[in-house]
Structures are given as C-alpha cells and as structure tokens.
C-alpha cells in the first residue's frame, strides 16, 4: 500500500489527498496516516514548514499566499529511489 502510494506520487505532479485516497480505495484519514508514516520513515517531507523558515527574511511574508492553509508534502531523495525500486 505504501509502495503503491509512493509509486503513484512519483508518476507526476500534484496529487491531492482525496485523489490518492480514491485511487488506493482507502479513506482520507488512512491516507493521512500513511503520509505521516512515510514522513516518519524519511520518504516524504512536509513542504510548508520548510517554507516558513526560508521565508523568514522575505519582506512579503505577511501578505504571501504560499504556505496557506493546506499542507504539502514532497518526495525526498530516498522516496524517489524507493519508488524506482518498487
């Protein structure tokens, strides 16, 4: 299931949690859990938290749309390698 998730994620572009949940035939709640596990394992990483640090020095940070309400995760190098194998 996790390997399938990694594989779909690497296929291309943005995926929403809902779309992935539908493709794997699981609930969004379970998908969220899988994402968290993959983050914990180092295959995915959250993006938004990263952004806030980097944006610390940006004068536009206050009126910035990036890093809004929705969280984003991206594959790590490890995640890409793993999806190549699986």
């Amino acid at each position: 299931m996790l390997d399938q998730l990694l594989r779909i994620v690497t296929q291309r572009g943005i995926h929403t949690r809902r779309e992935l949940a539908q493709r794997l035939d699981v609930s969004e709640e379970l998908l969220q859990q899988m994402i968290e596990e993959l983050v914990h394992m180092g295959y995915l990483k959250p993006v938004v938290g990263d952004c806030h640090d980097r944006c610390a020095g940006c004068p536009f940070a206050t009126g910035c749309a990036i890093g809004g309400a929705g969280r984003i995760w991206t594959l790590t190098g490890k995640g890409v390698r793993a999806s190549d194998v699986t």
């Binding site: 299931m1 990694l6 699981v26 609930s27 990036i66 995760w73």
Partner: protein, 663 residues
C-alpha cells in the same frame, strides 16, 4: 486450590477511553506507581468476575509499537516479556483506521488479543456503522462493541476474556503479512537469526523488526549474534533498505481490508460541502473553467468598478491638482510650474489613480486566497505545469506573480530542486503583475472601448501562453526533465475573514503608495528633467535623443519615440509607463486628458503592440535585482533580461504587423 489470576493488559491509542474502561473494571482497587526505572505512570488494578480475579494493567497510550517513544517501548516490552493472558486492544470505532494500526502491531505478538470496539455511539452519530461480527470474522479475534462512558459492553468484554482464557473460542487471528516480494527476505533473515533470538521474542517478529530497522531489536541482535552471521544479516538489510516500506505496507493493506469489510461509511448525501464543491473545483475540465471564470470575473470587476473610478480620479483629482498647482504657482518660474504640473502631478498623480484598480485586485485575490481556493487552482493547473518540468508547487510562487513579480521570484525558494527553482525564477517575470495589469486597465479602454476586457484577457492569456511555451522550451533545452512530486491537502473552504483581507489590502496598498512616493516620484522627476533639458523644448530634449535612438525598433511596432521612452522607463517600475506618458504628453498640452491624446497618437495596432511589449518586457528593476539575489548569478540574470527583451520586442513586432495585416 489457589485462584487463577488472569492478567489483562489494556492497550490503545490515547483518547480511546482506555482509562474509563480501566476505572470501570477496577473501581477502587487500583494501584498507581511507575513503570520500573521509568517516570511513566503505571496503573494496575484488580477486578473480580465470575469467580475469577483479573489483574488489569493499563499500558501507556501509544499509536504504534515501533519503539519510537518510551511509552511504545514500555507497552511492547510488557506484552512480550510479561506475557499477559489477554491484551484488550481498545479502539475508537469513529476512528477505526487510525486505531487499527496498533492492532496490526499487536497481533503478531505472542499474546491473544480481544478488540474492544469503543465509542460505537459516536461512530453512529457520525453516520458510520461498524459491523462487530464482520470485523470479528475479518480479524479472526473476538470483537466486543462498547460504549465505555455509559458502561455498555463491559460485561460482554469480561465474558469474552473468560471464554478466551478458558479456551472456549478458537483464536485464529488474521495477521498482517509483509508484501509478498519481501517474504523470502524475511524468511532468510529469520533463518539466520533463529538460534540467537532470546526466549520471549517471536522469531518472525524479530526478523520483521530488523527489516523495519527497529533500533532496539537491531542492537539486541547485534550483541547476541556471531559477527559473521550478523554481517550476513546486515548485508541483507542493507540490500533491502526499503524493507520498512514493505512491512508497513503489509499493515496498511491489512487495515484497508478490515475497513472495507466492516465499516459502512456515510452516504453520499452526507458528504461535506467542501467535498461536493471540490468535485467541480478540482475536475480536470470544470475545474479549469472555474479557474478561468474566477480570473475572468476579477478582470470584469476591475473594469466595471475600478476603471470608471480611475477615470474619475484622473479627471477630478489629477486635473484638479494640476489646476490648483497652476493657480498656486502663477507667479513662479515656468520650469517650476512645469516640474510640479507635468513632472510630479502628471507622473505620480496618474499612477496614484490606479489605486482603486489595485484595491480590487488585492481584494479579489485576497478573497480567493482566504476562502481556500488557491490550493485547488494549483491542483487544476498542475497538468499544464508538468509539461514545463514544473509542478503545482511552482505554481504557488508564480501565482503570487499576479500581485508582484518580486515575491514571485522570492517564493521560488520553496521549490527544493535547484533546477525547478531556477526555472520558476526565469518564468516568474512573465506573470502579469498588478502594475502591468494597471497599465493594461488604463490603456485598453482608451483604445479598445467596450472590447477592453476582452483585450486585457487576451494580453493576460498571451503572457501565460508565452510563460508556458518558455517553460517547455527551458525544460527541454536547458534542463533535462526532473521528477518532482507532491501531495497536497486541500484545506476546507471557509467563510473569508474580512479582517485578514482588509489587512492584506492595506499592506499592499501602503506598499504601492510608498512606491509612488519614492521610486515613481524620482523617475517622474528625472523623466521630466530629461524632457525639459537642455532647451526646454521636448522635441530637442535629451529624452527625445534617447527616444529617437530607439525609434528604429519602435517603428517596426508602430511606436513613436515617446512610447519607446515610456517602455524604457517601465524598467524602473511598470507604472512608470503611464507616469512617463503622463509627463511626456502633458508637456505643452493644456487641459487635454492623457487618454484623449494617446488615442489620437496611436493606431489600435500600435497600441496592441505596445501592450504586448509591455506585458512581456524586462521586469522592473526590483524584480531583476531579486532574480540576481535569488539565482546568485549574473549569467542567469543577464539571460533572463535578454530573453525577455527579445521575446517582448519580437512579440510587439509580430502583433503590430499581424494587426496591420488583419486591419
């Protein structure tokens, strides 16, 4: 005969009602201490039922048994080493999937498990229905539905514990299995570690934990095994670095199977509003249409409300200010009157009239951001973005470009891959920023009347098409395709917070006014000075000399030297196009509005060409500086400027020639 004491361990994730059950079972017969050598509370108690005494141990609440935390280690060590007679795995029926993870980890341990399905009432109130018997059949272990807070199901649980301990029920759990392609790997590890696994530990479990990279078990086995055998195990583990995924995958497959079997979800009618809206908003076709519709509506609003206000401000405020200044400076030298009226009021004043247009943009985009739509927009356009080697995440900084290109370039910082980041930075200046939009909103009604929104739409569309084509070109030529992938959470739609939007408008308007008061003022004065020096006649001024130098290029696009100077000035700040035109055309002209003069000076084809160049031209100096700062390379900055210069001029020439051809 001494009474047989049954040891029951209560396991469960935090907040599933474990303490409530513990209190119900043990009442006043509780003992609270600490786990040996740990500061974590250990609660035990006794309970008498049907002639038996139950020793109930409340294990720390844990989400899993991966030994990541002290609580997890305590829970798993207790079960493995102390071997209670029964583990009651308490799960929240309303959050079954999350809770089953722990059950998936409990089942491989050498102790029978009973699932206490708590909060069935909460699950039902949320429209979910869990079938205990089906779940029981799927799990292969007893399942007892409960509402611990109301004491429901406790007796049944005790009976079930009794029956299990007495061997009255077959205990045949369906355990999660590792993904098939790793089965041999686990078996290989198991056969190697087999002689060394200390007694209470199940061998298969140890093999799985090694594959998962469990630090505690790895350490334990490394110490116990002979070096050469350990090296063999280590080699297998090294080769199967992704074993952890295979093991966890097995658990998720198992959870999904259980859920499919035993959980009935709310019917379609009960699906949330966000979900229903997203069926449209993230649809490949309708979603794109909605996005276009929203952007289109914002433009329409700008023209319907902003443009007349701008015109009014231009006539009343700028015109009024000019009259006032003329009157106040009636005795002053001509050059001073000209500086104030033509230079400052003509330049800065004209730019200030954009404020209503900008406020509408800021408010509209602020609204779209705040309502939670932005993530959907990023999702919908992603299919196009990936053609350029970019993904929705680059869309976010690019989308910011609608406001201003500077944060857009800076926003590229969130893109991890250096190539994708550079690509985003190179493309960001092609986003039509509000300053460019304002120029567009000012000029299009003058030349195209009622077709203005359509032309503006076309211009924005053109910018985006050029952006897309440039992206594809850069992606193919400069960078080899790089794979980037994202998972996005689409936030719930919510009613916008007017305070947030108000603040956004205020901040951005202040920034705009600050620009008008500084950079645009300075440029207006310089342009005025260049237009007045050395002779006082604009036709023989320094500016005219510069303009005439650019005229050969301008002629290809139907532009006179003034328009070329305006373009050049837009490098400092985009609004300067208008400020410059304000200075240049108000010089020597009395009472006439800039719009009227412009419409008499330029043909629609030339105006179209001017707009095309303006949209695609080198970004303002602030953006160029930011590009330099973010790329840390003069080469890429130079490339960006040169590329945009060439593209914009070619675009302008093409637009003029084609428009002329079509008539």
């Amino acid at each position: 005969m001494p009474e047989h004491v049954i040891t029951v361990a209560l396991a469960g994730q935090p907040n599933v009602g474990k303490s409530t059950l513990f209190n119900l079972l043990t009442g006043l017969n509780q003992h609270v201490g600490n786990w040996p050598g740990k500061t974590i509370e250990r609660k035990t108690g006794t309970c008498h039922f049907d002639g038996h005494t139950l020793e109930v141990v409340d294990l720390p609440g844990t989400y899993s048994l991966t030994a990541n935390s002290l609580e997890e280690r305590i829970a798993r060590d207790y079960i493995i080493k102390e071997k209670p007679d029964v583990v009651v795995a308490m799960v929240n029926a309303a959050s079954l999937e999350r809770n089953l993870y722990l059950v998936a980890e409990l089942l491989p341990l050498p102790v029978p498990v009973i699932v206490a399905l708590n909060m069935v009432d909460v699950a039902e109130s949320e429209g979910m229905k869990v079938e205990p018997h089906v779940l029981e059949a799927a799990l292969g272990v007893p399942v007892v539905p409960m509402v611990a807070t109301k004491g429901r199901g406790v007796k049944l649980l005790l009976e079930e514990i009794d029956r299990l301990v007495e061997g009255e029920v077959d205990y045949l759990p369906h355990r999660p299995q590792i993904r098939e392609d790793h089965l041999e790997v686990v078996e290989g590890i198991e056969s190697l570690v087999n002689p060394y696994v200390p007694d209470p530990y199940p061998r298969r479990w140890v093999a799985l934990k090694l594959l998962e990279g469990d630090a505690e078990i790895t350490e334990m086995m490394r110490e116990r095994m002979k070096e050469d055998t350990w090296q063999k195990v280590h080699a297998i583990l090294h080769q199967h670095e992704d074993g952890v995924v295979a093991v966890a995958s097995g658990r998720y497959d198992w959870i999904a199977r259980m859920i499919r079997a035993a959980l009935i979800r709310p019917k379609v009618g009960q699906i949330s509003l966000t979900h229903r809206l997203d069926r449209w908003a993230t649809h490949p076709f309708w979603g794109l249409l909605i996005l276009l519709g929203i952007v289109g509506f914002i433009f329409w609003l700008t023209y319907a409300v902003g443009a007349p206000l701008q015109e009014w401000l231009d006539i009343v405020v700028v015109g009024g200010a000019a009259d006032l200044a003329n009157a106040a400076l009636s005795g002053a030298p001509d050059w001073l009157t000209s500086l104030v009226v033509d230079g400052i009021i003509g330049g800065v004043g004209t730019v200030l009239t954009f404020l209503p247009i900008l406020i509408i943009f800021f408010a509209s985009f602020g609204f779209v951001e705040d309502v939670g739509y932005m993530a959907r927009a990023a999702y919908v356009v992603d299919r196009f973005m990936h053609l350029m080697g970019l993904h929705g995440k680059s869309f976010l900084p690019l989308f910011l470009g609608f406001g201003c290109n500077v944060p857009s370039v800076m926003g590229a910082r969130i893109v991890e891959s250096p190539r994708a980041r550079l690509l985003t930075i190179l493309l960001a200046p092609l986003m039509p920023c509000t300053a460019r939009m304002a120029v567009l909103a000012f000029l299009t009604p003058i030349f195209f009347g009622t077709a203005a929104p359509l032309v503006s739409w076309g211009m924005v569309g053109l910018s985006l098409v050029v952006l897309a084509l440039s992206g594809i070109l850069f992606h193919k030529v400069l960078f080899r395709g790089e794979r980037v992938a994202f998972i996005m959470e689409l936030p719930l739609y919510h009613i916008p917070d007017w305070r947030t939007i108000g603040l956004l408008i205020l901040q951005r308007s202040k920034a705009f006014l600050a620009r008008a008061g500084t950079i645009i003022l300075v440029v207006s004065v310089i342009i005025w000075a260049l237009s007045a020096l050395p002779t006082g006649d604009i036709e023989t001024s320094f500016l005219a000399t510069i303009g005439h130098l650019l005229e050969p290029v301008g002629r290809l696009m139907g532009q006179n030297w003034r328009m070329m100077v305006a373009l050049l000035a837009s490098f400092v700040a985009k609004e300067n196009s208008i400020a410059t035109l304000g200075v240049l055309f108000s010089a020597g002209e009395e009472e006439a509005q800039l719009g009227t003069i412009l419409s008499q000076t330029l043909t629609p084809a030339a105006a179209l060409a001017f707009l095309v160049v303006q949209m695609l031209f080198i970004p303002c100096v602030a953006t160029v500086a930011t590009v330099k700062q973010e790329t840390d390379s003069w080469r890429w900055t130079g490339f960006s400027v040169a590329y945009l210069l060439i593209i914009s001029l070619l675009g302008g020439i093409l637009a003029y020639q084609m428009a002329g051809f079509v008539g």
